[in-house]
Symmetry: C2
Subunit: 320 residues, 2 copies
């Protein structure tokens, strides 16, 4: 296992991707309570809200209020999500967020046409305009992502060759606009990946682009997220998105097929036990997971929040 | 990934290990309903009840009634569990079960003393008498197991060297009694394993005992079971215990720290997607998981039963 990284960087997605899917309105104060608890665990990167159309995503209508209420912890980068220039302007106006430009690619022409009403070529032009927008605002633009990189509910499985091609498109697009894409996030948006598929695709991308930093965004709809994260680590991946308590989908029937990202505390436990540094205090994170469950008012799927850490067991043994 | 087996053998544990932990009494007829549904999925090995003290495990008091009501499917081996000669005699009397002898080893002297009131040496004598008992009854005796092979809540982590030593003890004990142990099950009883730990221990055991067949029994208390199963497959392991819907612990607080075995349908989905034969029809298994949830009357932790299979998505895409 020579490629397992010594440390990984975790971006917590719970307060954004997690709360966004909850049916009930969550008071801004409670969102801030969770964000604060998470920022005190040692997590250094956190997505806290979306600047999107409140009519389409009512749960994110308080984006400005969340940022206004934020009491930033030193050393923590708070991120927001936006989908267009208006969203970006709102994020910039809030004044407290860590801003990074990013462009996305989609393997599926069907998905693009259904959801954004454009062809691959048209989408490429939109992405080019996004890059110019970031340049115009002086926002660092070094990141790309590939959605549904292992499969898509509209077109089926995605081959590693196709992902390599799309990563190449991203690099070319960046180059055309004078920016160098340094990190690419591969997203298993619709939970089609297996550990073997992770290894194949990461291996193919790394072979072609050895200097590119890779990040994984893994949904747990089919229970594979932690196995996929470990497979990624064996391939040297050292950046992961994750979600406290597994927030981000309702695994109890209401949102069938849409579980959240890999559970943050399960990922941290695995790292602690295999000697990979995360900088996160697992016991504090378990408390934050319990808080998340209290806030949403229904059981959340994380395991370690129920089963406990191994360190706590070892500490007990040491005392007796 | 050269060692991933072409096929694996799954032993379903849900009707025994799963129902045993449920607080409410489950009617025998409903247990039989699940056993029948599971036997129709293609699962060929299934543990259906325990012949244990009904005062200690009230949920298994109907062991004889379960076997009496059983309508065996051709080709399916129905197993029972016993802990002593009396239990074995009850299992034999039932007349429909597949009987296999097995002896167990424990890494933890503390656990042995606390739970069985004996030293390692005394336990070794008990195990020897068990082997003689199987021989006396003409029951095949080719299996051993190591409990808590990655760690124990009473003594902490267990090293791969200690497991190799215990496997050696098992082989020696068999040899002393004229039986050859051909398969050893390594059980992560208390959920201390990580994928890296799985690889280390399996690697160490295989190096010393290259002809020994290994089986894994993986609890999911800390969410690692599916990652551990995949790590085992990469090391060539081709026998797994599992539990439909993740039955076997209450992940919602009541039985903290005691989740069930790796979820059968999540394991089967992973195998389907990476080309490992299980002989199991995943759609039928998902229906059985829904039945299990209906029987216990509370949400169960399996993922694929909620998220659905990928084959069903592919089939839909093929139609449109």
């Amino acid at each position: 296992m020579p490629d397992i990284p010594k440390s990984i960087r975790i971006t917590e997605e719970g307060p954004r991707e997690g709360f966004q899917i909850e049916p009930g309105p969550i008071p801004t104060a409670r969102k801030l309570e969770l964000i604060h608890a998470l920022a005190c665990t040692g997590l250094k990167q956190m997505q806290i809200t979306s600047f999107v159309n409140p009519q389409k995503v009512p749960g994110m209508a308080d984006a400005e209020a969340v940022v206004e209420g934020l009491k930033p912890e030193p050393g923590v980068d708070y991120h927001g999500l936006w989908l267009n220039e208006k969203g970006l302007q709102r994020a910039m106006a809030s004044g407290k967020l860590h801003l990074e430009g990013k462009v996305n690619m989609y393997p599926s022409a069907t998905f693009l046409m259904k959801n954004q009403g454009c062809t691959q070529q048209q989408y490429r032009e939109i992405a080019g305009r996004l890059i110019e927008m970031y340049k115009g605002y002086g926002i660092p633009m070094e990141k790309g992502s590939i959605s549904s990189a292992w499969g898509c509910n509209f077109e089926g499985g995605v081959s590693s060759e196709r992902v390599v091609e799309l990563v190449g498109d991203l690099m070319d697009l960046g180059a055309e606009h004078g920016v160098a894409i340094k990190t690419v996030s591969l997203a298993d948006t619709m939970a089609w990946a297996t550990p073997l598929g992770i290894k194949r695709t990461i291996g193919a991308v790394r072979e072609k682009f050895p200097d590119l930093r890779l990040s994984l965004h893994l949904h747990d709809t089919r229970g594979m997220a932690i196995a996929n994260a470990y497979a990624g680590m064996e391939m040297g991946v050292d950046q992961f998105d994750s979600s406290v308590a597994g927030l981000g989908g309702c695994p109890f029937g209401k949102h069938k097929g849409s579980a959240g990202n890999v559970c943050t505390e399960d990922l941290v436990l695995m790292c602690d036990e295999i000697g990979v540094e995360t900088g996160v205090d697992l016991e504090a994170l378990i408390d934050a997971a319990a808080l998340a469950e209290d806030i949403v008012g229904h059981p959340l799927p994380g395991s370690v929040m129920k089963g406990g850490s191994l360190k706590s067991l070892r500490d007990k043994l040491a005392v007796h």
